[in-house]
């Protein structure tokens, strides 16, 4: 190769290297002067498989930031949220948090959506010594990774989401109790975790599993899974779903005129677009939830009011999870009195391990692995609205059993 070419190439390389290094090197310093805004770094799946719930969490975070800023800020400083879109990809979420912590020097980080993304993101935060409160990593593997800085901002872990439903079903008299169950779960730790948590309890109680299917996240064609479920004529169908896959499975089951006595799906039925997506044939569909807008906790009343004003509609579980995360972190920051990278983060972690926090989903406290110690409620679509039916003391409507035809 001619020397001229080689030199040209070398110069191009040098320029590129210097350009990247220079652009990367400039960034803010953490914990700067007291009147600068507090930078909170967040990576969320705003596009891709988890985009619906991801956007919900974003709205929750934004609502929290507005409430805090309108009230004078945190420790007297305004909070600024920086969102990055990880496109529901575990690779991107890691580089996003590396960027937020390493380059942007965020003072705090909030967690992303979905267990699949939470585990790698939490590892980044843990290794940089940052507090990691997350709104959506509920599967048991999250808490088995040995993370010390992680806290899940909702009442219960995935396998316990359906506890009240399991109790209700197993308490039914012999004649009316369902005998068989079909399970279809996305190969996602959370979605599968909820379904398999229920499966374990129902099997222990004598309800036979006749279909047990697991599908990858980008599955869109459910005709064969639906055909198997319909052919099995199972009394109960349990979907461990996120959003669109739940919708598609329900439509596929409707197309086959399969009529179960109980239909329980995670996440999908609680999303705002759900009713329209399944042709408004929602009567009787059950979903676990950690949150209800009608809950009477004091911070919840304020949250619902301000959220509805900001976004023209009431919040649902994802937004509440985001808001709760903000509340938990804010409580720690206010109690400890510092907000920056470094030893401050360990103080925040220690405080949360020792103290409960009042949130829109009630008082939360955690064990040493970050697991919350509460329980989820069960909602059902009744008369065109989604309402709490279990547990008895919190219910807004009577449970509809068996499920009416689609």
């Amino acid at each position: 190769m001619k020397p001229a070419n080689r030199i040209q190439r070398g110069m191009v390389a040098a320029v590129a290297v210097v350009a990247i290094a220079w652009s990367g090197g400039c960034g803010r310093k953490s914990g700067t002067s007291s009147k600068d805004p507090i930078l909170i770094g967040i990576s969320l799946p705003l596009t891709g498989d988890f985009s619906e719930p991801g956007k919900g969490i974003q709205r929750g975070y934004e609502a929290w930031a507005k409430v805090v800023n309108d009230g004078g800020g945190l420790l007297g400083r305004q909070v600024k949220l920086k969102f990055l879109d990880d496109q529901s990809s575990a690779d991107r979420v890691v580089s996003d948090y590396e960027q937020l912590i390493g380059k942007d020097k965020a003072d705090l980080v909030f967690g992303p959506f979905s267990t699949r993304l939470v585990v790698p993101a939490a590892r980044v935060a843990e290794e940089y010594g940052m507090l990691f409160v997350e709104p959506a990593g509920a599967a048991k593997q999250v808490f088995e990774q040995g993370f010390k800085n992680l806290f899940y901002a909702a009442p219960a872990v995935a396998t316990d989401h359906y506890n009240h439903l399991a109790k209700y079903l197993l308490a039914l008299p012999e004649g009316t109790r369902p005998r068989t169950a079909a399970y279809a779960a996305m190969d996602d730790p959370f979605a599968k975790g909820t379904a398999y948590g229920l499966k374990a309890k129902l099997e222990a109680g004598g309800i036979k599993t006749v279909v047990d299917e697991v599908y990858p996240p980008n599955t869109t064609d459910f005709s064969s899974i639906a055909a198997k479920i319909a052919a099995s004529k199972a009394d109960i169908v349990v979907g461990g779903s996120q959003y669109q896959d739940g919708v598609n499975l329900i439509i596929a089951l409707q197309q086959l005129s399969y009529q179960p006595k109980v239909a329980a799906f995670s996440t999908a039925p609680t999303e705002p677009e759900f009713a329209k997506a399944v042709g408004n044939k929602t009567e009787g569909i059950l979903a676990p939830t950690g949150y209800t807008p009608l809950g009477k906790f004091p911070s919840n009343v304020e949250f619902v009011q301000k959220y509805t004003a900001q976004f023209n509609g009431p919040p649902s579980e994802d937004e509440a999870n985001g808001y709760t995360t903000g509340q938990v972190v804010a409580a720690a920051v206010k109690a400890v009195g510092c907000v920056e990278q470094g030893p401050c983060q360990k103080k925040l972690v220690d405080w949360l391990h020792a103290n409960p926090v009042d949130t829109v989903v009630g008082p939360l406290k955690w064990d040493d692995k970050g697991r919350p110690q509460g329980a989820h409620m069960i909602q059902q679509w009744v008369g065109g609205k989604i309402l709490i039916v279990l547990p008895e003391n919190l219910k807004e409507a009577e449970m509809v059993f068996p499920k009416p035809a689609w």
């Binding site: 020397p3 890691v94 790698p120 996602d188």
Partner: protein, 369 residues
């Protein structure tokens, strides 16, 4: 009179020195990058670019020498990554031993794969290479008991005691080492008779076969070498990143970004793919920092690829160099030593020579000619 077709001469002794100097400067810049970079995040960006450079150079063994455009090298890097990960987690091998064994396994696997894929040419080869990636996504997603499926496979760190920032630094140098290995291998083949045979295949496969080059064997050997290096790249990435997802590991998009990098930099040159990786990788990272992750990146990548294919299939840098030379360099003379205008002038001044008498027509002489 000097003819325009002779190469421009510079002092002969200078060329190897200039070459070595340029390489030394480049190497120094690369090795000092972790120190220049302001924070660990930039080091991860650097690792990403080095990873791309390794993959692009490894791809270029097949693409550059034989001319076969494989969009399926993502399959090989993904296999390298998962093989390394599984050897560490399931078989309990130490990390770098697992890396080497994994590369050997993928190279062994590349023999039947290559034998099947290289039997067909052109369109079928491309279809097979893409199909390989797509089937592996399905297999690795479904076989969740082994691979963790879409829940991901966690790969333990080779150096658990290292702080995260240090971990990034160490792997930066490891990747740089792997890149040097790949470049050395490419350079060796480039200079060898084996490489000459491969380039003949690229120019015209049938004629090379007719000339006695064992085309199938040559193609297979270079494919296996390419596969081994690609698998090393994928495996090293698995050890560094620590979390594998089938959709990201077996990605036709990733594979074709690597192809774009090699094309952009120039497939016929040693440092072409590396430079392409630098430019495209830096461009993608810069766009991400400024504008966030948007689908516009896909549009931009597609447009750049399309432009490169239509306008400069030999690579941007050769195209730019020739453009620069045409615009600013000394005017290259034509084969004729004088211009047409001067020739016309000369003819006008001198009288035309008298026409030669026609030789007598001699049929016998014609036939014997």
């Amino acid at each position: 009179m000097p003819s325009g077709s002779e190469p421009r001469r510079s002092a002969p002794a200078l060329r190897p020195i200039l070459r070595l100097a340029a390489i030394a400067v480049g190497a120094a810049l690369i090795l000092s990058f972790p120190a220049i970079a302001g924070n660990p995040y930039m080091v991860t960006v650097g690792i990403g670019i080095l990873n791309y450079a390794v993959l692009a150079t490894a791809w270029n063994f097949v693409g550059g020498f034989t001319g076969y455009i494989s969009l399926g090298h993502g399959a090989l890097s993904g296999l390298g990554a998962y093989a390394t990960a599984l050897l560490v987690t399931v078989a309990g091998l130490p990390s770098f031993a697992a890396l080497l064994v994994a590369a050997a396994l993928v190279a062994a696997l590349a023999i039947p794969i290559g034998a099947a894929a290289l039997r067909v040419r052109g369109a079928s080869f491309v279809i097979v290479s893409i199909a390989l990636v797509l089937i592996l996504v399905l297999v690795f997603q479904s076989w969740e008991s082994l691979t963790g499926g879409s829940r991901g496979l966690v790969v333990p760190r080779p150096f658990p005691a290292l702080h995260r920032a240090e971990h990034h630094r160490v792997f930066f140098f490891l990747f740089a080492g792997l890149l040097a290995l790949a470049l050395a291998a490419w350079w060796l083949i480039d200079r060898s008779r084996f490489g000459l045979g491969l380039k003949a295949i690229r120019e015209d496969e049938d004629k090379s076969e007719a000339l006695g080059i064992p085309t199938f064997t040559y193609k297979l050997v270079v494919f296996v070498v390419s596969a081994a290096l690609t698998a090393l790249g994928g495996g090293l990435y698995a050890l560094w990143f620590g979390d594998l997802d089938p959709v990201f590991q077996f990605s036709v998009l990733n594979g074709s970004t690597v192809v774009l990098m090699a094309l952009l930099g120039g497939v016929r040159h040693l440092f072409g793919p590396m430079l392409g990786a630098l430019v495209v990788g830096a461009g993608l990272e810069y766009a991400k920092l400024e504008y966030g992750d948007t689908p516009l990146h896909l549009v931009a990548t597609g447009l750049v690829l399309g432009v490169v294919v239509m306008v400069m299939p030999d690579g941007v840098i050769p195209a730019l160099s020739s453009l620069v030379r045409r615009l600013f360099g000394p005017r290259e003379a034509s084969i004729r030593e004088v211009t047409a205008a001067e020739l016309l002038e000369g003819r006008r001044r001198a009288p035309p020579p008298p026409p030669e008498p026609a030789p007598p027509r001699d049929d016998a002489a014609e036939v014997s000619r």
